[in-house]
């Protein structure tokens, strides 16, 4: 099971999260929708990272992120019928390990990859990707494969 990304995609996501520090950065991961998207351990090819503003209110952006559903709906509309879709999300944990929090779990969608980037003192320290189980009770870590 893996999340396959290019170095250029990693650079975009990491730069977004470093720039957002000490707040959380976030964005969409876009790519072809796999046939077995809902299978635990499927492989996901991401061909685009699209940074988005953290839509959470100013009070808690250091430990919360929100992607505006209107923006998500617009991007899904753009991709409609192309075989590509929003297949995952990235966000940062400033000064906190890249493990999903209970809140991450409560809010997570199935199938998708949740790529969490740990930022320490403004720099990436670690990054891990997770897929939620269908029953919504846990996340399973997946390998991040850097290509190109």
């Amino acid at each position: 099971m893996s999340l396959r990304i290019t170095r250029a995609i990693e650079d975009i996501a990491v730069a977004t999260c470093q720039a957002a520090f000490p707040e959380e950065g976030c964005g969409l991961l876009i790519g072809p929708i796999p046939e077995d998207f809902d299978r635990p351990g499927r492989t996901l090819e991401v061909d685009e990272a699209r940074p988005l503003p953290n839509g959470w209110d100013a009070s808690a952006k250091t430990n919360r992120y929100l992607i505006d559903p209107k923006i998500l709906a617009r991007v899904e509309g753009e991709l409609s019928g192309t075989g590509r879709g929003v297949v995952g999300f990235f966000h940062s944990h400033p000064q906190v390990p890249a493990w999903p929090s209970p809140f991450d779990l409560t809010m997570a969608m199935p199938c998708c990859s949740y790529w969490i980037i740990e930022i320490r003192d403004g720099k990436m320290k670690d990054s891990r990707s997770w897929q939620r189980t269908e029953d919504g009770r846990s996340f399973v870590e997946e390998e991040i494969v850097l290509e190109g």
């Binding site: 998207f37 430990n63 919360r64 559903p69 879709g85 809140f103 809010m107």
Partner: protein, 471 residues
């Protein structure tokens, strides 16, 4: 009605990989029911066990959020599109944020003390304190909490900075006079420490909002200046299980305590009832030494830090009294009241009450006895024994008067009311009945038997004696 439902990428796997699904429905709820009846795995993803849409599921009808319309009851018509869009959110809230290098440098004098250390400083960073009021006590309190590195400081206030505040409210400055206290305080706190977050709540703390607000913070610090809010803060702290680092000031004296700890007393254990309204003047009436809130507010900050760090002995079960003129501190023991209406095992108050009424601050509604001009005429004709009091101004009296009346203008009544025979029935009139109603209320409070003439001399002119001019 044929309605199209569109699914986001993440959910299509649960609907045979379809992006668009047509259903026949009249409302959003019907459409979703149909969708779920065909695709049960989708229902499990989007609906909670009690049959409600999960909180992160947004439903749009064309471009409008269904919640802004009638929710699931929103009517849909032929050709409408229903979009299901998840709110993608998350974050690291539950894991404790580590200290950054810049923070390690800033808090060095804390870190080298074993009682605080990196672990304690991390506790401060991940803690939250709500300051009730950005005034005399709130100023040093919030400043020291910010400097000490309390990660989230909330302030609730609704006032603007007045020049007369600056003698003691050192979080504000001359430039901020006339602007919001919250804006001024937040600016100052973030200038002092950019590593913290400051949440401002511009509102009057009320029974309706206190419990919800308090539940978002670890410690509440009461820096209010009135009894109604003080009882509200106390009760809401007990109800939410939050400790209250309490302080209060008056002229040259201050009080300090921690209320609401599990085994400790609350403010009501100490003072079950507020003093009668008006008995204890406020700082704006009686004055306060400018430095005094600096002493007490700073002590509140110390108690708040101790509570967060879990060090020392909290000032619970004790009330400290400070006298600036004597430069003395006294500590009184305060016991938990086993019959306390809020914090005992069998409380009678289980939700915030009406504190204005509890503290006697609501204007009492007094029914003003009224008499019509016709009945007044009958009494005059029958030569009944009463005083007819006119509370208009002398120049009005020149224009028109009812024969036999006594003139005492309303403004002069408080000093001249004793001229009126207390044993007699008093009937009061003015031009239209407004001023005389106030006079009647005043006289009743002074023990008189007073009645108001409905409609005043104008009604008299209208119905009884047209020769009296109307003006």
């Amino acid at each position: 009605m044929s309605i199209e439902i569109r699914l986001p990428t993440a959910l299509r796997a649960f609907a045979d990989k379809q992006e668009r699904i047509s259903v026949e429905a009249k409302t959003v709820g019907e459409a979703l029911d149909q969708l779920f009846s065909k695709h049960d795995r989708l229902r499990q993803q989007l609906m909670s066990a009690d049959g409600k849409l999960r909180s992160f599921v947004n439903v749009y009808v064309n471009d409008d959020d269904a919640r802004d319309k009638q929710g699931l009851a929103t009517i849909v018509k032929e050709g409408d599109t229903i979009l299901i869009v998840p709110a993608i959110a998350g974050g690291s809230a539950t894991a404790e944020a580590e200290l950054t290098k810049a923070e390690l440098a800033r808090y060095d004098r804390h870190l080298i003390m074993p009682e605080v250390g990196p672990e304690g400083q991390k506790k401060l960073k991940n803690a939250s304190v709500l300051c009730v009021g950005a005034g005399g006590l709130g100023s040093p309190l919030a400043l020291y909490l910010a400097a000490a590195g309390v990660g989230r400081i909330g302030i609730v206030d609704f006032d603007t900075v007045d020049e007369s505040n600056l003698q003691r409210q050192i979080i504000h400055d001359t430039q901020s006079v006339g602007t919001s206290k919250l804006v001024s305080a937040k600016k100052r706190l973030l200038a002092l420490n950019p590593f913290i977050s400051v949440e401002t709540h511009e509102m009057r703390l009320t029974s309706a909002n206190a419990v919800e607000l308090f539940s978002k913070y670890d410690v509440i610090a009461d820096g209010t200046d009135n009894f109604a809010t003080r009882y509200l803060v106390n009760d809401a702290c007990v109800l939410t299980g939050k400790p209250n680092a309490y302080g209060s000031i008056f002229r040259f004296e201050g009080q300090l305590a921690v209320f609401g700890l599990k085994d400790g007393p609350c403010y009501r254990c100490l003072y079950p009832e507020p003093p009668p309204p008006g008995l204890v003047p406020s700082c704006s009436e009686a004055g306060v030494l400018g430095v005094l809130p600096g002493v007490i507010g700073t002590m509140q900050a110390i108690e708040a830090l101790k509570l967060i760090l879990g060090i020392g002995r909290p000032l619970s079960g004790r009330l400290m009294l400070y006298d600036a003129l004597e430069q003395s501190w006294r500590t009184l023991k305060v016991k938990k009241n086993p019959a306390c209406p809020v914090c005992s095992e069998h409380p009678t108050i289980t939700a915030p009450i009406d504190y204005e009424a509890f503290c006697g601050l609501k204007e009492k509604t007094v029914t003003i006895p009224e008499i019509s001009v016709n009945d007044l005429k009958k009494k005059l004709d029958a030569k009944e024994n009463f005083v007819l009091l006119d509370v208009r101004e002398p120049h009005e009296y020149e224009i028109a008067k009812i024969t036999g009346s006594t003139l005492i203008p309303l403004g002069k009544l408080p000093e001249r009311f004793t001229e009126v025979d207390k044993s007699a029935k008093v009937i009061v009139h003015c031009k239209m009945g407004g001023r005389s109603a106030k006079a009647v209320q005043f006289l009743i409070e002074k023990g008189y038997d007073a009645t108001n003439v409905t409609g005043g001399i104008n009604a008299w002119s209208e119905s009884i004696d047209p020769s009296v001019p109307q003006y």
